[in-house]
């Protein structure tokens, strides 16, 4: 996969977060969204280029062209439009892809370029003042689709365990968990009985199908939830999985946690394999 990072700043954290949430909306899976995106973390004013409150977002896509397109449309429709926002590169190296470079044409000829310390910025006049955007950001190779499953005695217990895992994992750098709240309740398998679908429900882990399909669930498991992780490197995903699984395990059997598993797709989906026992060793 290819990935990029952008830093959104605004008058305060509230509006930086609004812009970031909007930009990373409808970006849970590359299967139908075109990209996977999420909020990496909140940045304090001393961590942002313009000294305002900020949020770091990451976008992952299958190819460089698709990534650039997603970044540009999302930046244009969700950040440019968001009050008081500014947009900066979050990766200095890598292949340069447009951030504000093409958004500048919204300025209709009134846009102004400023090159400061080797970086080009575009000042685009908008109705609330000026939208400031760095011209480019970096695109790097990345890893997508790291995952683990939480198997619990009940649905509330599965969700509580996943919430604990996500809270711990959000403190880790260079990763996002792109699904709603970081948690997937509808894990998929490759293929379907319907020819038009290339993915369908992971029936082996559906608790209501325990007696109707070749199940991977023991009788006492009533709910399964998945956490999907995209990261800049395998090590980043390893680290995030480790703290996430640890947080789930800390809740333990007394909180209904029965088992941790993972969707391995027969080991045929993607070049990276995350062996949970090695990660936790």
């Amino acid at each position: 996969m290819k990935a990029t990072r952008a830093i959104i700043t605004a008058q305060n954290e509230k509006w930086a977060m609004i812009a970031a949430q909007t930009m990373t909306g409808f970006a849970t899976s590359v299967i139908a969204c075109g990209c996977e995106a999420g909020i990496e973390r909140v940045l304090s004013p001393d961590e942002t280029p313009d000294g305002r409150a900020g949020v770091s977002v990451m976008i992952f896509a299958m190819g460089g062209k698709g990534l650039a397109k997603q970044l540009e449309t999302r930046a244009g429709q969700c950040v440019l439009t968001s009050p008081t926002s500014a947009l900066f590169a979050g990766i200095d190296g890598g292949i340069r892809i447009p951030l504000g470079k093409n958004l500048r044409y919204f300025g209709d000829g009134f846009q102004i370029a400023k090159k400061i310390s080797g970086k080009r910025y575009w000042r685009i006049p908008v109705m609330d003042g000026e939208f400031l955007a760095e011209a480019t950001t970096g695109q790097v190779d990345a890893v997508g689709g790291g995952n683990f499953l939480v198997l619990a005695k009940s649905q509330p217990q599965a969700l509580a365990a996943c919430e604990a895992a996500i809270e711990a994992m959000r403190k880790m750098p260079n990763v996002i968990m792109p699904f709603p709240g970081g948690v997937v309740r509808s894990g998929s398998k490759v293929g379907s009985k319907y020819k038009t679908l290339n993915a369908s429900t992971n029936d082996a882990f559906c608790p209501t199908l325990k007696g109707a399909t070749k199940t991977d669930l023991s009788p006492n498991i009533e709910s399964v939830m998945e956490i999907v992780i995209d990261g800049l490197s395998k090590e980043d995903i390893d680290n995030a999985m480790r703290v996430g699984i640890q947080a789930v395990c800390d809740l333990g059997a007394e909180n209904g946690i029965e088992r941790i598993s993972a969707g391995n797709y027969g080991g045929k989906l993607g070049p990276f394999h995350f062996h949970l026992q090695e990660i936790m060793a």
Binding site: A86, I112, K114, I116, G129
Partner: protein
């Protein structure tokens, strides 16, 4: 290795073309080779060792001692390395400089950093007219890099400026930013008449209210997001510009020159 040092030992009658004494041309030459180089002065040619005492060996670090305002073209087309001038520099200092660093402890003459491409020039004293400008007849002045002047600058600062940053701690003369195509000129002191005359694009950043022509239109007071980034880029400079207390992001914005395409701006601290 100690810096390659040229100490002026005689006062030349005519101006001297110092353009051969740049780092990239002296690299790998022996002291004897350097001493035998010829410098033009009026209609005469001098060996380097007729004008200078030569010491040291590091050609990437040149020092010119006892420098006077008759030494022209110091650092012309400099392409890496540093030149330190102890004293004054003549005209065309850092002309067409490509990269590297030049520091002058005294004043500099006309056309300093004219058509400079990149690099860093620091003048502790004053500079003459046409700082960072285009040569007569040319349409493109400075194209990149940073110029810091701790004293005052003459007229036509940044004439035909294309890109880059000119910082002046003192005052700037008339026609500052004339015919600018782009780039940024910041002046802490006062500016003269005809500020931004025929400027097309670019930014004139001022600490004091200027005398503006009728062809500059008031766009009101604004807080601009790029200014904190610009000021933070000054932090590494040995200058008043690095002082956080002089920074601001609230400005009165004037658009102009409306007699040209009017996409330039004068930003005045509020």
């Amino acid at each position: 290795m100690s810096a390659l040092t040229f100490t002026l030992k005689t006062q030349p009658v005519q101006r001297v073309d110092m353009s051969p004494l740049v780092c990239q041309q002296l690299q790998g030459l022996s002291i004897a080779d350097i001493a035998a180089l010829e410098l033009h002065s009026g209609k005469r040619k001098f060996r380097v060792d007729e004008l200078f005492t030569i010491d040291g060996s590091d050609a990437q670090n040149i020092v010119i001692k006892n420098s006077i305002e008759k030494l022209d073209f110091i650092g012309k087309e400099l392409d890496g390395g540093t030149i330190t001038v102890e004293g004054d520099a003549g005209a065309y200092l850092a002309m067409s400089m490509k990269t590297g660093e030049i520091k002058v402890s005294g004043n500099a003459g006309l056309y300093a950093a004219c058509e400079m491409k990149n690099g860093y020039l620091e003048v502790s004293g004053n500079v003459g007219d046409f700082l960072g400008a285009a040569l007569p007849g040319n349409k493109m002045g400075m194209k990149g890099g940073i110029i810091l002047v701790k004293g005052n600058a003459g007229q036509r600062v940044g004439d035909h400026l294309r890109r880059g940053l000119i910082l002046i701690e003192g005052n700037a003369g008339d026609y500052c930013g004339s015919r600018m195509t782009a780039g940024t000129i910041a002046v802490m002191g006062s500016t003269g008449r005809y500020l931004g005359y025929a400027m097309r694009r670019g930014t004139l950043l001022l600490w004091n209210a200027p005398q503006l022509s009728a062809s500059f239109n008031d766009c009101g007071a604004h807080t601009l997001a790029f200014l904190p980034i610009l000021f933070s880029s000054f932090k590494s400079l040995n200058s008043k510009f690095a002082d956080a207390s002089v920074a601001f992001n609230r400005v009165q914005r004037y658009a102009g020159d409306m007699a040209e395409i009017g996409q330039g701006e004068v930003l005045v601290k509020r």
